[in-house]
């Protein structure tokens, strides 16, 4: 009975965390022998004939990592309506206060996005942006994502404030330039679920009517 108890209670060195750091006595032999020190010269000499690590940038452009944080992009639904609903969550998430959003209400005559509201003004100041991607995480509609584009240098402050038209994704095949109505028989939840796969001819005609 006594034996049993002592086995249970006694904490081992491992329990105390003592095994976490290896206690190996370091043997200090002083500086390496002279001949061994000379090996360093061989290292630098050999390196001269190795392939260089650097890239001749403007002529040679290497692709970035696939998830590289580059310039932002405002995406569209497959029928061309904007995904941005002007909620300003990206602007609130931004630690550098680089994003300015002004929302406005969608009307039947002027519809830019499914649902109630759209982003009327959308600016990102690339002099402030730190490319942290918190805005991407904040976006509830996946309207805002980042591209791999990294060539963002320019010669004036004004040019580095990107407007909505600089950030919007281009129209792809099957997309219509908004404003135009939503897909007939679909509401904003259908859009978010991905039910809309392209535009309907009726959207096109009504958008043409509006243009006239």
């Amino acid at each position: 009975m006594v034996e049993h108890m002592s086995n249970e209670v006694e904490p081992s060195r491992r329990d105390l965390g003592l095994e976490a750091v290896e206690s190996v006595a370091v043997v200090n032999d002083g500086p390496a022998p002279f001949a061994k020190q000379l090996l360093g010269f061989w290292v630098t000499f050999r390196t001269m004939f190795k392939k260089v690590n650097t890239v001749s940038y403007p002529e040679v452009k290497e692709p970035t990592a696939p998830r590289f944080h580059g310039r932002h992009q405002l995406n569209r639904h497959p029928d061309g309506l904007e995904k941005c609903i002007g909620c300003e969550l990206c602007a609130w998430a931004c630690p550098a206060d680089a994003i300015l959003v002004e929302g406005d209400a969608n009307t039947d005559e002027h519809r830019m996005s499914p649902g109630e509201r759209y982003g009327k003004v959308y600016q990102i100041n690339y002099l402030r942006c730190v490319f942290c991607g918190l805005c991407i995480e904040a976006c509830p509609t996946r309207a805002l994502t980042m591209t791999n584009e990294y060539e963002l240098a320019d010669d004036s402050r004004a040019k580095l404030i990107f407007e909505k038209e600089d950030l919007l994704a281009p129209l792809r095949a099957g997309m219509l330039m908004p404003p135009h109505p939503m897909y007939p028989g679909m509401d904003d939840s259908n859009y978010y679920k991905g039910d809309v796969l392209g535009f309907h001819p009726s959207q096109e005609t009504s958008s043409e009517v509006k243009h006239d």
Partner: protein, 409 residues
């Protein structure tokens, strides 16, 4: 006819032309060596180096020079203005002057005159180079002092201490050369190496000279006078524009100058490599200049290689190395060389020379072994027992861990 006699017949205009040639050569070499150094160091660090301006970036140094010249020339309010302006001029002038006595080619024909590519030949040519090099240090010391600020002053003081220490070792390493060649004239020293280079005959001297010339030129790993990590820019922190460019120029001309001196004193100067003596007659003797600069560039490459390989030394280690290693070793070596020379001049039998040499080798080996074992004994850490605490700690060198009595056990 000796080179000195040959040069004595030079008309005034030829001396002027040669002076100009030496000057142009030094400036061109500086431009090329700045580019070469940056390219070589870049390759050692797996980079490409400057490759934008001109083919392979060859004109990069020139572009940098133009940029420097166009910059604003600042003189700090606290600076001693006259000395501040004179300092870089002293530095640069001294470097160029050192080149006057370097023989760059054998006898050649220049504009119909038989002469040699050497501005002048002094009976004390090498001493002259040493003297001029010391004057160059004044430029650095004065620059540091006159800047009226702390870092330059520290850099200047370091530089003076450094050059004084290493010039002693350098001077001592040259003594062996003087003993063997029987002359201090650069052209005579080159002539004395026709058969065997002094780098082979006086190998220890060569090594000491090679080390001290790096110390003398304030180059990595001995670039303590302008240690960026410690002193910002050292003596040239407050300099800008052309004055800075002059220091830059001086540094590189200095490197080329000490390399040229090393070539002259130890690598047979303008003579061809052993076995290639027939090339010395090519192009009417002008080909010797190729040999000379091949050797200079070899030394320059060593400079760059050192910079690419070694970290900067700590100041006290650097001084210790100079005073406690280089100078005593030099003195001992001079003693040996002088004894051997006296023996051979007095016609001592071969056996005596051999016995003396082996005796010296044995003494050196004995001292070395005794020194090593003393060092090893000093390094042995007495074993100490310490009580291991009940929490994780890093290990202590030379200590064994004693298990604690478990307080709860």
């Amino acid at each position: 006819m000796t080179t000195a006699e040959l040069l004595g017949q030079d008309p005034g205009w030829l001396i002027a032309v040669k002076g100009l040639l030496v000057f142009v050569l030094c400036v061109l070499l500086t431009l090329m060596s700045v580019w070469g150094e940056r390219r070589i160091v870049a390759r050692m660090q797996m980079r490409l180096g400057p490759n934008r301006v001109g083919p392979f970036g060859l004109v990069q140094a020139l572009a940098d020079g133009v940029k420097l010249a166009l910059k604003e020339d600042l003189i700090p309010a606290a600076a001693d203005k006259i000395v501040f302006v004179i300092a870089p001029i002293i530095s640069t002038t001294a470097c160029f002057m050192a080149f006057a006595v370097i023989p760059m080619s054998g006898p050649v024909t220049l504009f119909g005159h038989k002469t040699a590519m050497q501005l002048t030949d002094l009976p004390v040519g090498v001493l002259y180079v040493l003297a001029i090099a010391s004057i160059g240090v004044y430029g650095i010391v004065l620059a540091g002092w006159s800047s009226g600020s702390t870092y330059p002053l520290l850099g200047g003081l370091r530089s003076s201490a450094q050059v004084i220490s290493y010039e002693v070792a350098m001077g001592l390493s040259l003594v062996a050369v003087f003993i063997y060649s029987g002359s201090m004239s650069t052209s005579d020293i080159v002539a004395a190496q026709q058969k065997w280079w002094f780098a082979v005959v006086l190998f220890p001297s060569f090594v000491i000279y090679a080390i001290s010339m790096v110390g003398e030129t304030n180059r990595a790993p001995f670039d303590l006078a302008e240690a960026e990590g410690e002193l910002v820019g050292g003596f040239h922190t407050e300099y800008s524009s052309l004055k800075f460019a002059l220091f830059f120029l001086a540094e590189y001309v200095n490197i080329v100058a000490v390399s040229a001196l090393a070539t002259t004193l130890f690598l047979g100067g303008y003579h061809a490599l052993p076995g290639l003596g027939f090339t010395e007659q090519w192009l009417g003797g002008w080909f010797t200049i190729v040999w000379f600069f091949t050797k200079v560039i070899f030394f320059f490459f060593i400079f760059v290689w050192l910079r690419g390989t070694l970290p900067r030394m700590r100041y006290d280690q650097f001084m210790k190395f100079g005073w406690k290693v280089l100078i005593p070793v030099s003195l001992f070596w001079i003693m040996v060389v002088a004894s051997l020379r006296v023996m051979s001049l007095h016609g001592a039998p071969r056996l005596t020379v051999l016995a003396f040499s082996s005796g010296v080798v044995l003494i050196v080996l004995g001292i070395n072994i005794a020194f090593d074992s003393a060092k090893k004994r000093a390094r042995e850490v007495p074993e100490s027992n310490f009580a291991a605490p009940t929490f994780a700690v890093p290990s202590i060198p030379g200590a064994s861990i004693v298990e604690l009595e478990n307080p709860r056990g």
